[in-house]
């Protein structure tokens, strides 16, 4: 990544403004996720409704990013790291838009769950999981702005923890359903929520991979480095 300014300074301003949109969008998504998880735990219907309505603003920014990127490609013909920036920005916007949808879905389900007998401990576990994912998202976006491939790599590795939390919750919900069939509806909703939060983690990983592409010019390989290290260690022993 070249830190030098463009000879044509309007180009710098265009690139900066589209990246500022991504940060604004990221901020809205983080808030939506955290609010939705809080609404679930505190059974706050008003907060859930605000999250649901707030998704339109996130979608609107994605549109704006796409329009700006199309304009940048048409008018500035970006090359090299500028081209990679524009491509990454479009993909990240689409990742964030999906995350916004998941937060909205969480909010909707939280309103439904508020009418049912609560499953003990579930909302608290989900909120912790959401918190973890929010951190991944925040770090992925910080890595994007700083073009920090090392931090992005860290995000990729930490997604494993989210997957483990999801697996643990899956077993927990299964147990509740086996214990009492009346828990099934609530547990199904809770399971979808867990799955959706886990998906947000996948999108954070995808953003991190874009950051690696952006700063190195190549997408990271299929296997995550953590898994590779483990295999290597075993082979050496």
């Amino acid at each position: 990544m070249s830190n030098n300014q463009h000879i044509l300074r309007a180009f710098d301003r265009d690139l900066e403004s589209v990246q500022a949109l991504i940060m604004k969008m990221g901020g809205l998504v983080e808030t939506a996720l955290s609010d939705a998880a809080r609404a679930l735990e505190t059974q706050d219907d008003d907060l859930a409704e605000r999250v649901r309505l707030g998704d339109a603003a996130i979608d609107a920014i994605e549109e704006e990013v796409n329009t700006e990127c199309a304009r940048l490609i048409a008018l500035r013909a970006p090359m090299g790291s500028d081209l990679r920036t524009v491509l990454s920005v479009m993909k990240i916007a689409s990742n964030l838009e999906r995350c916004g949808d998941y937060a909205k879905n969480l909010a909707k389900r939280s309103k439904v769950l508020a009418t049912m007998t609560p499953i003990p401990g579930a909302a608290g576990s989900l909120r912790r999981m959401a918190k973890q994912v929010e951190l991944l998202l925040k770090d992925a976006l910080d890595a994007f702005i700083a073009r920090d491939a090392a931090l992005a790599e860290d995000v990729r590795q930490r997604d494993l923890e989210v997957d483990q939390m999801y697996n643990a919750l899956f077993r927990e919900f299964l147990t509740h359903m086996l214990e009492d069939a009346r828990n099934i509806t609530a547990c199904m909703h809770l399971h979808f929520i867990a799955k959706n939060i886990e998906r947000v983690g996948d999108h954070a990983t995808s953003i991190a991979e874009q950051v690696i592409y952006l700063s190195t010019g190549a997408m990271p390989g299929e296997a995550r480095p953590k898994a590779e290290v483990v295999t290597k260690g075993e082979a050496e022993e």
Partner: protein
């Protein structure tokens, strides 16, 4: 992957090693090593005065015509040193043709412009053969349809884009193996530019084409390989898509993204 753009299996047509060019005391080109591939379009890009045109002119010994110019190192065409004293530069230029920035048709008829090369090199035995060569070349240059009814009119009476295509027809009439183009589209409008670019893409089935251009979009559109020159050095040479999406050298990055290097 995109097979059309994959030229990795093509052999080297021109091998340049340790090429230095001096204009008097000015060391204009320094230690250039490059393999120009056969049946491939290679683009030379770089800021003004970087040496790209100088290097292009080395490839058919056009620098011989400049008294103060001195070329060192080796440039081989199909393994044969083109600076060997036994090589006749005129014969060499029949094999390594050139098209210039400004269309420069001879002040002769359209027909004679194309027929001139084959005539002096004895490539046609009779009038019928010459007619055939002229028609084939004008067709290859995508000009035949526009001029077939007025082959005896002066070449200078054509539009700029037509004149440039006439010059290309003239350059390919001697059946060259390599075609050098120095900013062939800088004086043309976008339609004529597109026609010349389409032609370049067709020509690469038969020849190796080397094009010097200031338009990076043009380099990206027509070439499979790109070489970036800066201050007399060949800074980076590689697959065109790689040069424009992920250049390795920071100087290339600064140049192609339009940054203050």
């Amino acid at each position: 992957m995109d097979l059309e753009r994959d030229v990795t299996t093509h052999t080297a047509k021109i091998e340049a090693r340790n090429v230095q060019v001096y204009y008097g005391d000015n060391h204009a080109l320094k230690d250039v090593d490059v393999d120009i591939l056969d049946k491939t379009v290679t683009a030379f890009i770089g800021p003004s005065g970087c040496g790209k045109s100088t290097f292009l002119r080395c490839l058919n010994r056009m620098n011989d015509t400049i008294p103060s110019a001195r070329v060192e190192g080796s440039i081989r065409l199909d393994g044969e040193d083109i600076y060997d004293p036994r090589v006749d530069p005129v014969q060499l230029r029949a094999k390594v043709g050139m098209v210039f920035q400004k269309p420069n048709p001879f002040p002769k008829s359209i027909y004679d412009n194309v027929a001139y090369g084959p005539k002096i090199h004895g490539l046609a035995r009779n009038r019928a053969e010459l007619d055939e060569v002229v028609e084939t070349c004008l067709k290859k240059a995508a000009l035949w349809g526009e001029v077939k009814d007025r082959l005896q009119s002066p070449g200078t009476g054509l539009s700029g884009g037509q004149q440039q295509r006439l010059c290309i027809a003239r350059a390919i009439a001697t059946s060259p193996e390599v075609l050098l183009m120095d900013e062939p589209c800088s004086a043309l409008d976008p339609i004529a530019t597109a026609q010349v670019e389409e032609l370049i893409d067709e020509l690469r089935e038969q020849f190796s084409v080397v094009i010097v251009t200031h338009s990076m979009q043009q380099a990206a559109r027509v070439s499979q390989r790109t070489a970036f020159f800066h201050l007399g050095h060949l800074v980076e040479y590689g697959e065109t898509a790689q040069i424009f999406t992920n250049p390795k050298d920071p100087r290339t990055e600064s140049y192609i993204t339009g940054r203050i290097g």
